[in-house]
């Protein structure tokens, strides 16, 4: 077993455990903190796959922005932070079953893929990977349409947020 595989196993176990704790914690705030640990694990997995850019973006976007936003909303809604309600809801087995089925389906599809058991390929260590990724995002033959659609969606969300938050002047009378 190589060093990288050991790292992968440790990171995978930590990531999955903290993912479980996100739904199992009694306090909402603890759930949010476990979520951060889980996302950090994913970032390290990107790092072991030589995708440094994605590892950093994972930290930047998910830990730096989204988790902070989640914690902010938690703090603004004080009531849900109390831990005097039961941690388990009625019918909890239904989502659990769904999750298991989904995992089974995804794993089954992955297993039919030819390279399922392939080992990690060493990438050439040059920054050209990143430049190629950037070019593909704005290339008409590449991913320009999904990229633009995502941009428009984000812009719409931005405008919507400003519209909701804006102070409207009440009409007189």
């Amino acid at each position: 077993m190589s060093g990288l595989q050991v790292v992968f196993l440790i990171v995978a176990i930590v990531t999955l455990f903290s993912g479980l704790m996100v739904v199992a914690s009694r306090k909402m705030m603890h759930s949010a903190l476990w979520l951060i640990l889980s996302l950090l694990g994913v970032a390290i997995l990107f790092g072991t796959l030589q995708a440094g850019f994605f590892a950093i973006v994972q930290i930047l976007v998910y830990i730096g922005a989204i988790s902070i936003l989640i914690i902010f909303t938690l703090m603004l809604t004080r009531r849900v932070m109390d831990d005097d309600h039961p941690g388990v809801i009625k019918g909890w087995w239904l989502p659990a079953l769904m999750a298991v089925i989904l995992f089974g389906l995804l794993a089954g599809f992955m297993a039919t893929w030819d390279n399922f058991q392939a080992m990690l390929n060493e990438l050439p260590a040059n920054p050209e990977n990143l430049a190629g990724f950037g070019a593909a995002l704005v290339d008409p033959a590449g991913y320009v349409i999904p990229f633009e659609v995502a941009s428009v969606l984000l812009l719409a969300a931005l405008v919507g947020a400003i519209y909701i938050a804006a102070e409207r002047k009440e009409k007189a009378g």
Binding site: F53, I59, G64, I71, M75
Partner: protein, 408 residues
């Protein structure tokens, strides 16, 4: 390679050779080298803070017509050491009802987030931790970890002042990240790389000459990111006691304190790296140790400006702070990005001096126009309160002690 040209890399190579000699493979030698390097850099940075605290207290004292620390050692140099010993011996109090993990993790995170920035900065041509291809993004992402530390401190302390302080701090840090990232995009566009090593290599001339508007925005945003005066709303004593670190005592408070000082210094050397040419200077290419000297000289000049900023400006109100960010800096940064991209590609095939001149002119026009727009409708003449004649610390001050380092 001779010792005097590049002592640090010489020492590193010597240590690697030593490890090779006792039969460790090059892989292990590199790993051990990184571990030792990280430890030395982190410990060095922590001890450096002792000097920074003295420097800052002395300077702020001078700005405010005081002497600053002047009793212990030459020029009061040993004062921070005494303070450090005092803080070591203080009792560590854990208040009732704190969230144990969050409460104890927060000081560690806020120092380590700053120290991690030292890993990617090129101190000289040959001396840097790692050269990762996404260096600038790394800096911003690590800043996010620091925010997490503040949030954990505020929430974990089980104190409303701490929570309010943390929320204020996070609101400020998240907001100022926007112009910070946008203005950092300009050097990335000009150099065509996100690696800090490549950005420094590409700076001929320095980017503060090529894009002064971006440098200006970057500087203000990084001052705001450090959370010091005039952006220290997070610890406004008159409103929320001491902000997110109010429940911390002893060494745990010391960690936040060290983190803040280190962050201010780190922010100034990141500014130097990105806009002031890093280690660049005469003969720095041939003799890397000169580059190290240039780097620290420039950093101390920027740090001086930062302290001047801190020592002379009153604290912003929260609405003023948000106005400055969202109504001035962010639109300005967007305009600068557009203008620099446009001009840079228009003059891509012309001579270098023409391209740089055009970029400089566009930047200056943008800053000038923005200044006029912001000033429109602002009352600029204020009645003067008090007189300009005021007492200053003069040599005939009766309170000067003999042997205090101050000439009297």
């Amino acid at each position: 390679m001779s010792f005097w040209r590049d002592p640090i890399v010489f020492l590193i190579n010597w240590a690697k050779g030593l490890l090779d000699g006792i039969g460790w493979g090059p892989g292990w030698a590199t790993t051990v080298g990184f571990v030792i390097g990280a430890f030395v850099l982190a410990a060095g940075a922590m001890f450096f803070v002792v000097f920074l605290i003295w420097y800052e207290r002395k300077l702020i004292g001078r700005f405010q017509d005081r002497f600053g620390p002047n009793r212990l050692g030459p020029f009061g140099l040993f004062q921070p050491l005494a303070d450090m010993l005092k803080i070591f011996t203080k009792e560590l109090i854990t208040p009732v009802g704190v969230d144990w993990v969050a409460y104890n993790l927060a000081p560690v995170l806020s120092v380590s987030a700053v120290l991690m920035m030292w890993a990617v900065t090129p101190f000289s041509k040959t001396f840097f931790g790692v050269n990762i291809s996404v260096g600038i993004l790394f800096l911003i992402a690590i800043g996010g970890l620091g925010e997490l530390g503040i949030l954990l401190a505020g929430w974990g302390s089980n104190n409303k002042y701490a929570l309010v302080g943390a929320l204020r701090a996070i609101a400020q840090l998240i907001s100022y990240e926007v112009p910070f990232v946008l203005s950092a995009l300009v050097p990335v566009m000009l150099s065509g790389s996100m690696s800090l090593v490549d950005i420094v290599e590409a700076q001929q001339p320095w980017y503060i000459v090529v894009a002064p508007a971006a440098a200006f925005i970057f500087f203000i945003a990084s001052v705001a990111e450090t959370g010091r005066a005039p952006f220290d709303l997070a610890e406004a004593e008159s409103e929320i006691v001491a902000g997110y670190n109010v429940e911390y005592s002893g060494l745990k408070f010391g960690m936040f304190f060290v983190g803040e000082f280190l962050h201010a210094f780190t922010a100034s050397f990141i500014f130097v790296t990105v806009f002031l040419g890093g280690w660049r200077g005469p003969f720095a290419d041939e003799i890397p140790v000169l580059g190290l000297a240039y780097f620290f000289i420039k950093t101390f000049i920027v740090y001086f400006a930062l302290i001047l900023f801190r020592g002379t400006n009153p604290r912003f109100r929260i609405d003023q702070m948000m106005d400055l960010n969202w109504k001035v800096l962010t639109p300005l940064a967007l305009v600068v990005i557009m203008a620099v991209a446009l001009v840079n590609s228009l003059f891509a095939s012309s001579a270098d001096w023409l391209r740089i001149g055009a970029l400089l002119a566009v930047n200056l026009v943008i800053v000038f126009a923005a200044e006029r727009l912001v000033r429109r409708g602002v009352k600029t003449t204020r009645p003067e309160v008090g007189s300009r004649q005021r007492p200053v610390a003069s040599p005939d001050n009766v309170f000067i002690q003999p042997g205090s380092g101050v000439k009297g």
